[in-house]
């Protein structure tokens, strides 16, 4: 049981520059196994960039990120960091699922083909096994009857749920959600959030960048408020939402609640 208390994701002193633009200014954050960490903040606060650094969608300018035992993107030899080869980075990413704001389903494949693509092509899983598993996953996200549909034949909410199933098919240890409901029509947000809540309750470790304060309150284990590239406040979601300690957090919450 002590295993469960060891942080699964450790972000230490993370900095990110785009040219001279200093986007992340020293982020520290830990997420334990089975925890749901919700990250909020105004646009441009760096919350998406921080999330994208975790699976190396963005390069890391300074600092270290560990997921499990893996040091993301680097190998440390005698205190000096060496970049990993593309193949090694790909291997690290297999353990980290990601769901994007714009779904990014493969439009030339059906929902089922989207879900089995990585297990079959990357893990070398048997195609029939992968299909069985994909049917289960699609049923789990409420799309058991849409397996043969192409993304263009699905609504935004349905596409995002296929995208969640696709990420889960790789059986990742941690799931990253990058504003998963921001591109959805309001009436479709609920279905996606319900799938995410189920996932959270099933014990999946999740980092969720979102504007959905209700989600944070309901299933979040920690809430991190970011602004201007730094963590302003973090802690228990219900405590922060009820009684924010910083003026900037108060101001932000008053605008989104």
């Amino acid at each position: 049981m002590t295993e469960d208390n060891k942080p699964l994701v450790r972000i230490e002193g993370l900095h990110k520059y785009y040219g001279h633009h200093h986007v992340l200014k020293g982020i520290d954050m830990t997420v334990k196994k089975g925890e749901v960490a919700v990250v909020i903040g105004p646009s441009g606060s760096g919350k998406s960039t921080m999330l994208r650094c975790v699976n190396l969608m963005e390069t890391i300018s300074a600092g270290r990120i560990h997921v499990g035992d893996a040091l993301i993107g680097h190998r440390e030899i005698n205190g000096k960091l060496h970049d990993l080869h593309t193949k090694e980075i790909a291997a690290q990413r297999r353990n980290i699922g990601m769901v994007f704001q714009k779904f990014n389903l493969f439009p030339h494949m059906t929902a089922l083909e989207n879900v089995i693509e990585a297990p079959v092509q990357v893990k070398g899983q048997n195609k029939n096994e992968a299909k069985n598993r994909a049917h289960e996953l699609l049923k789990m996200v409420g799309l058991g009857d849409k397996t043969q549909h192409y993304p263009s034949q699905l609504s935004g909410g349905q596409q995002q749920r296929v995208a969640i199933a696709r990420a889960l098919a790789m059986e990742p240890e941690v799931m990253l959600f990058d504003e998963p409901t921001s591109a959805l029509d309001p009436e479709l947000v609920g279905d996606v959030l319900n799938v995410m809540k189920d996932l959270a309750r099933s014990g999946m470790t999740m980092i969720v960048v979102t504007h959905e304060i209700g989600f944070a309150r309901e299933v979040g284990d920690t809430l991190t408020f970011m602004d201007g590239g730094v963590v302003v406040e973090s802690g228990d979601p219900r405590a922060i939402i009820a009684d924010p300690q910083h003026a900037r957090t108060r101001e932000f919450l008053s605008r989104v609640l």
Partner: protein, 308 residues
């Protein structure tokens, strides 16, 4: 079907009349008729010769060789173009600049000149000899037993690869960046991402202009006399025309065959476009909801059902 009593009274408005459509149609039909009438009155068309030589063995073989040149040189060009387009996107600056130079060179010189050059390779390099320390290791006498076929394919294919490389590059760039990210996030290798995710989507953009290039290539093969290669349709019909002093019937024969092959290629292009349009264009297999299915069962034809 069963209109109720309170159904709306339709307007039945008088449509706008278009007299100029009728006028222009009449003018065009008249011009075409006048021109067509010369088919019967002008003996220089030589319809008897057209009929006699249309299926002549030499002509039909010429069509075959023209098709063979088109297909092989396009295949060579497509393979090279994919490699070049990927090189252009590479992180490696040496590959990037090599691809750029290739396109610059082969697009910047006339294909006719390139064909002459390939025909002269055996003159330029009659012998390839690799040695070390006075010891000859490899000794190859360069000959062309194919009588110009290989130089013709190389000349046409390499020239075309430069144009196709640009088409492929545009196609690869047209695929949304998010596709690459999603595939990367799933842990796919760069090779898999290219072949399974990016290229299939890029093909939708690549196929129409490539079909255009293929039809262009069919006719560019008529330049292979520069090599010289002498079995293609244009060369054969020209040779026959010169021998019989009747150029016009043989031009008609050549035009007929080129048009026929072009039409066949267009049909092929249609099906290739349909294949790569799946999921995006209207080409997505129709997934039926139960009501629509019932409606179709009641109507004509078997429904196209996909799914469990």
């Amino acid at each position: 079907m069963n209109l109720k009593d309170d159904a709306p009274v339709l307007n039945h408005s008088v449509p706008v009349r278009h007299p100029w459509r009728w006028f222009s149609a009449a003018v065009i039909i008249l011009v075409v008729l006048v021109f067509a009438s010369t088919f019967f009155t002008n003996p220089k068309y030589g319809w008897d010769i057209v009929g006699k030589y249309m299926l002549d063995t030499r002509v039909v073989q010429g069509v075959g060789w023209t098709l063979f040149l088109t297909v092989t040189s396009m295949a060579l060009a497509i393979v090279l173009a994919i490699i070049l387009a990927i090189m252009r996107q590479s992180d490696n600056p040496v590959l990037r600049w090599t691809a750029w130079f290739w396109v610059w060179f082969f697009r910047g010189t006339p294909v006719y000149t390139q064909l002459i050059f390939w025909g002269l390779v055996t003159v330029l390099f009659p012998l390839i000899s690799v040695g070390f320390n006075g010891q000859e290791l490899i000794h190859i006498v360069v000959t062309d037993p194919t009588k110009g076929l290989v130089p013709a394919i190389l000349g046409l294919g390499l020239n075309e690869s430069a144009y196709l490389a640009e088409i492929f590059r545009a196609g690869l760039k047209s695929v949304d960046k998010g596709q690459n990210e999603a595939a990367q996030a799933l842990g796919m290798s760069n090779g898999k991402i290219m072949w399974r995710i990016i290229l299939p989507q890029a093909m939708r953009i690549i196929v129409p202009p490539t079909g255009n290039e293929t039809i262009g290539m069919l006719k560019t093969t008529s330049l292979v006399l520069a090599v010289p290669y002498t079995l293609d349709l244009t060369f054969v019909t020209n040779a026959l025309a010169n021998r019989l002093y009747t150029p016009i019937p043989f031009l008609i024969i050549a035009a007929f065959w080129y048009l026929l092959v072009t039409s066949i290629l267009m049909v092929g292009q249609f099906y290739i476009e349909k294949h790569y349009g799946k999921g995006v264009d209207g080409g997505a297999p129709q997934v039926m909801n139960p009501d629509a299915l019932k409606a179709q069962m009641a109507g004509l034809g078997a429904p196209k059902m996909s799914g469990q």
